[in-house]
Symmetry: C2
Amino acid sequence: MANDEQGFLFDLDGTLMDSVYQHVVAWSEALQSVGLAIPVWRIHRRIGMSGGLFARALQRESPIPITDELREQLNTLHTAAFERHLVNVRPLPGTRELLQRLTDEDVPWAIATSGRARTAMPMIETIGLDMSKMKIVTRDVVPYAKPNPDLFLEGARQIGLPPEKCFVIGDSIWDILAARRAGSLAVGVLSGGYGENELVQAGAFRVFEDPAHLDRGLFELGVRI
Amino acid sequence: MANDEQGFLFDLDGTLMDSVYQHVVAWSEALQSVGLAIPVWRIHRRIGMSGGLFARALQRESPIPITDELREQLNTLHTAAFERHLVNVRPLPGTRELLQRLTDEDVPWAIATSGRARTAMPMIETIGLDMSKMKIVTRDVVPYAKPNPDLFLEGARQIGLPPEKCFVIGDSIWDILAARRAGSLAVGVLSGGYGENELVQAGAFRVFEDPAHLDRGLFELGVRI
């Protein structure tokens, strides 16, 4: 039985890397430094969505106009703050083992993140696998980030499978929405801090705790390894 | 119609103060600095529970023994890390207005937090109300923190109402469990980052977004103001 009929497209933050809370706090710091006090839980709910969409959503709650200049400034402030927190960011339990197993068993997979290469690559490096052999799709190479389907469509293209044959693994509502728009089957993980019900309600076919749990439960997705 | 038959017992972190994510990151930093890499979302799920219970739960996942000395060290490291983040902590939207309204209308209320006075008091000060007139119950004055009912029972005692006449307002499962053990009616807020379904499933009678939303919806709790 060939395994090449199933592929995996992984979100990065909160799915493979334990980086959501550092992103949340970095955004909070960036927003506060320009005088915007957005409650932190509302930022958490928006991690993983595109920066442009985030800025538009922000505009609805902001007393000051979010100009293109301010948006650029916020992106720069967030990146700088996140880089300060990067030293505390680790891969989630099971990330390395899961990706190694899929590689060993010739199950194609890619990483598709709303983040820029600049912040994503140093994190992916800490997983400890050969990056030259990985397919990695970042915000830099597609016109729109999540919840648009572009990142997952490009990931599917790179692994040579139609998106309908790919599972999308993500921790946030944006991953699941983007997966559905791409025509892929979404699978949730709790490791980004969303509640299980929210992910199921958005359309996750299954929810695992983290990559280690998914690794043990791959057979539940019909993966014959 | 007298309003003195209803009282409010408020959790602090994530309920009145936008401090949950800073606590999460502070715990993560403290744990990492002694070599314990607990995924951050699992820390989030435990914010608001007593430190002793947290240490016991930690023991089940830790490769090293959590001795009393290590526990003390972790508490000290967490407090120091949280104090570094304190500059970014703000009251949640509506906190001041809600507490002022209850005060003006002679509805008795108290704050009951699993935290120590040392970290709680500087936060409460930023709400901008007269602290000398507030009833504040911290971990320092009860034998057990949440989800034991002690903090809420002491809060009810201080405002002179039986706990069955008090609403407990909290953002976490621990608040709701402690409220139920105290015999109070629990009301959830989303501002600590838990999902609505989780709070309802734990037994929250109603869930509001944050203090501002609760302030507008007080009538839904039968408060005649």
